[in-house]
């Protein structure tokens, strides 16, 4: 028998991005309600596929992250137990109501904010990893059965927000932890521009990164690309991302750079030549500085420095270059 699998789903719950997504000026407007119903159907399909499949749902909210559902403690009816119904399979019903209620609760909590902090995607990602780690090493005496422990785990991120340059290092750390835990990270970019970091996450963990083009066919995308467990992927031509951006964020201004200056001692990245490494306090020789200043490309980094504020991660310069090459 093929083994069970674990899915940790991370939903990006940025109200402003979802507001933008639902606007009818988009080619395929997708409202949050429709999105959620499709996601629930997808999640049910995952549970339907195998009795032992496990599931956890995390929400990345502005400024915080929280666990919306976990199949481990779902059985201990926590108040919002839906009434039994002869027309539906109970586990599905429980998932649906718990996820919907918790999402609503979290969204209501942040409703009053006037200024929206960026979503805590990293928080959700790290929590998902901790959760998977717990599945892999069940504490003694807990009710986690062996089936869950042996499952090959994966994380699916449904992202709508742009990259947050400040979270570069934690995202990278999460990616390496995922590699160590042998977790596949799949990314579906539902709305907004491509994110460099999530592309790298999917690429480095062997998952797939899909930019949703036909948003009216969201469910079909989910089912065909993200439902097959990793063990099945070798026979299924799951779409892979076409290109991966290996750019990094510099430490000084959190700019996303394609050419950077790297300290040889601690490997910190800077967007322009600096005299002293801000991380390890190493002083660099003047000669190098002069040489680098002379040789660096004329246009891009200058405005990055003068700005001082995080530049929106435009994927444009390099893609423009590659396009002109072809």
């Amino acid at each position: 028998m093929d083994g069970s699998s674990h899915l940790s789903l991370i939903i990006d719950l940025s109200p402003s991005q979802w507001h933008l997504s639902a606007q009818s000026s988009n080619p395929h407007p997708l409202s949050f309600q429709t999105f959620l119903s499709h996601v629930l159907t997808f999640v049910n399909s995952h549970i339907a596929s195998k009795h032992e499949n496990t599931l956890a749902v995390f929400g990345a909210l502005p400024g915080k992250s929280s666990m919306l559902y976990s199949s481990l403690d779902a059985d201990s009816g926590n108040g919002n137990d839906p009434p039994a119904d002869a027309n539906s399979y109970r586990p599905f019903k429980v998932v649906n109501s718990v996820v919907t209620n918790n999402t609503q609760k979290e969204l209501d909590l942040i409703g009053g904010l006037t200024e929206e902090p960026p979503v805590a995607l990293v928080g959700a990602l790290t929590k998902a990893l901790c959760f998977i780690n717990r599945l892999a090493h069940p504490p003694s005496g807990s009710l986690v059965d062996e089936a869950a422990a042996s499952a090959d785990p994966r994380i699916l991120i449904l992202s709508v927000s742009p990259d947050l340059a400040a979270s570069y290092i934690p995202v990278m750390n999460s990616i390496f932890s995922a590699q160590k835990l042998k977790v596949t990270i799949d990314v579906c970019k539902v709305f907004g521009e491509e994110t460099v970091f999530l592309q790298q996450a999917a690429h480095l963990t062997g998952g797939s990164y899909i930019y949703l083009e036909r948003r009216d066919a969201f469910l079909q995308y989910l089912i065909m690309s993200f439902l097959p467990p990793p063990s099945l992927r070798h026979i299924i031509a799951v779409p892979r991302q076409d290109k991966v951006d290996f750019r990094a964020a510099c430490f000084c201004h959190k700019n996303i750079v394609d050419i950077g200056f790297v300290c040889s001692v601690c490997l910190s990245i800077f967007c322009s030549p600096v005299a002293v490494c801000s991380t390890c306090r190493t002083k660099f020789p003047m000669k190098t500085l002069q040489r680098l200043n002379a040789s660096r490309p004329a246009i891009p980094p200058a405005n990055g420095v003068s700005n001082g504020s995080p530049r929106p991660p435009s994927a444009r310069p390099s893609t423009g270059m590659s396009a002109s090459l072809r």
Partner: protein
């Protein structure tokens, strides 16, 4: 600093190493387990049987949980002591591991056999090496049947390398080894590497002979010319050519006396070689200034397999997949490398990022000791949502929380033991602080 942490890891390894020998009487206790150097140990055939089970103590109830908890507590305490300052990392290293797969490796003077032990240590070596040399790459070449056999291409992914040596039956020792063939193969696979990177060959050699097609001294001189450093760990005895290979290229040579010594010799080669470090021993100290420099690096874009094929600048072949140099747009086959057109050092950012957890470590969590502290906050672990214990546990180790709660000083969230260990050892970022 590196050597300090190194011997630590070795001590732990020694606990688990099966049949670790000592000249002491069989009743050797864990409490006496000092830092006895491998040199003091006798040959394996002279030693008595080591009673590894004596090192684990049962409690009154005959349970081992106490011993396990003690290990956990020790790990916590060590983390509290660890400095939070930045650690000096090496720059880009390339290493080809030459494994002797000749029939001499089936000898049983090291248990279970030289071959099995070599594979086991090689795996540990690779893991540890990648941890300490994040930008490095390892390739593996086997020597058997008189030829060099490429077991693993140069790769920066520890999983690839480990996978290549995970399957024992594919590496069964056979025939005679050929040092020259294998070194030539390793040399050719490193010929394209950028100038700033180190090129090293590490040979694990169990044989006392080598069958070579030509003059191995010529290979030696070309290695010197290419600035390839050869190190060798012999399992049998010293051979003149082996010592010469190491001495003339600036590598290290050693003959393993027993299992523990073998591992010592291998693991001594993990920290970056001294010559490249100059006098740099202290992290961020004045001595490190000499070798410190700012390097310009480009972060490329990877093209998919389905991209229109174009000529690559490194081999002048039509390729679909590859990387684009961000400065000149040239198409390269692999990263890291130097762009052949504009000379920019091309590195994919994950290679650099692998070492960042050393730069910004997570502050140690503090154990929640009193019950009024515990009741004030969430009932579940902030990371994995595991419910905390409500009643304090008795007889816990020093520095452990009776409620299994560990609190982050910055975000004031509580975490369970499992997550505490995971966050500090693997994840390197606090789930509560990352908003």
């Amino acid at each position: 600093m590196n050597s300090g942490s190194d011997s630590d890891s070795f001590d732990e390894g020694g606990l688990t190493t099966r049949g670790r020998k000592s000249k002491r009487k069989s009743g050797a206790r864990a409490s006496e387990k000092g830092k006895q150097k491998a040199k003091d140990q006798g040959y394996s055939w002279e030693a008595t049987y080591a009673r590894s089970w004596d090192t684990v103590q049962e409690d009154e109830a005959g349970s081992l949980t106490g011993a396990v908890a003690e290990l956990l507590a020790r790990g916590r305490r060590r983390r509290l002591l660890a400095p939070a300052a930045a650690i000096r990392r090496s720059i880009i290293r390339h290493l080809v591991l030459l494994l002797d797969l000749s029939t001499s490796m089936t000898d049983r003077d090291m248990r279970p056999t030289r071959f099995d032990l070599t594979l086991e240590y090689a795996r540990e070596f690779v893991t540890e090496w990648f941890d300490q040399n994040p930008l490095g790459q390892i390739g593996i070449v086997g020597m058997r049947g008189g030829i060099g056999e490429r077991i693993c291409e140069m790769s920066g992914n520890p999983q690839d390398v480990l996978h290549a040596i995970s399957e024992r039956h594919k590496l069964e020792p056979v025939g005679e080894p050929s040092l020259q063939n294998a070194i030539e193969m390793a040399r050719s696979s490193m010929s394209h590497l950028p100038t700033h990177s180190s090129r090293e060959i590490l040979i694990i050699f169990g044989s006392l002979t080598t069958v070579d097609p030509g003059n191995i001294n010529e290979t030696l001189s070309s290695c010197i010319k290419d600035r390839i450093r050869i190190s060798l760990v012999a399992l049998a005895a010293e051979m003149k050519i082996c010592r010469e290979l190491c001495d003339k290229t600036g590598g290290a040579f050693g003959v393993a006396m027993n299992e523990g010594h073998f591992k010592d010799l291998l693991f001594e080669l993990i920290p970056p070689p001294a010559a490249q470090q100059n006098t740099g021993t202290g992290a961020g100290g004045g001595a490190a200034k000499m070798s410190a420099d700012l390097m310009m690096m480009g972060f490329p874009q990877r093209l998919p397999d389905t991209a229109p094929a174009a000529l690559c600048v490194c081999h002048a072949q039509m390729r679909a997949a590859g990387f684009l140099c961000p400065r000149c747009g040239a198409r390269l086959c692999d990263a890291p490398t130097d762009c052949d057109v504009c000379g920019l050092m091309i590195v994919s950012s994950p290679h650099l990022a692998r070492s960042y957890h050393h730069l910004f470590p997570v502050k140690p969590y503090s154990a929640v000791m009193s019950s009024q502290d515990a009741t004030g906050s969430s009932a579940n672990c902030h990371a994995c949502a595991l419910p905390f214990k409500t009643t304090p546990a008795t007889n816990i180790g020093e520095g452990m929380s009776p409620f299994d709660r560990y609190r982050c000083q910055d975000c004031k969230n509580d975490f369970c033991t499992e997550c505490d260990v995971f966050v500090h050892d693997v994840l390197h970022c606090c789930p509560g602080c990352e908003t």
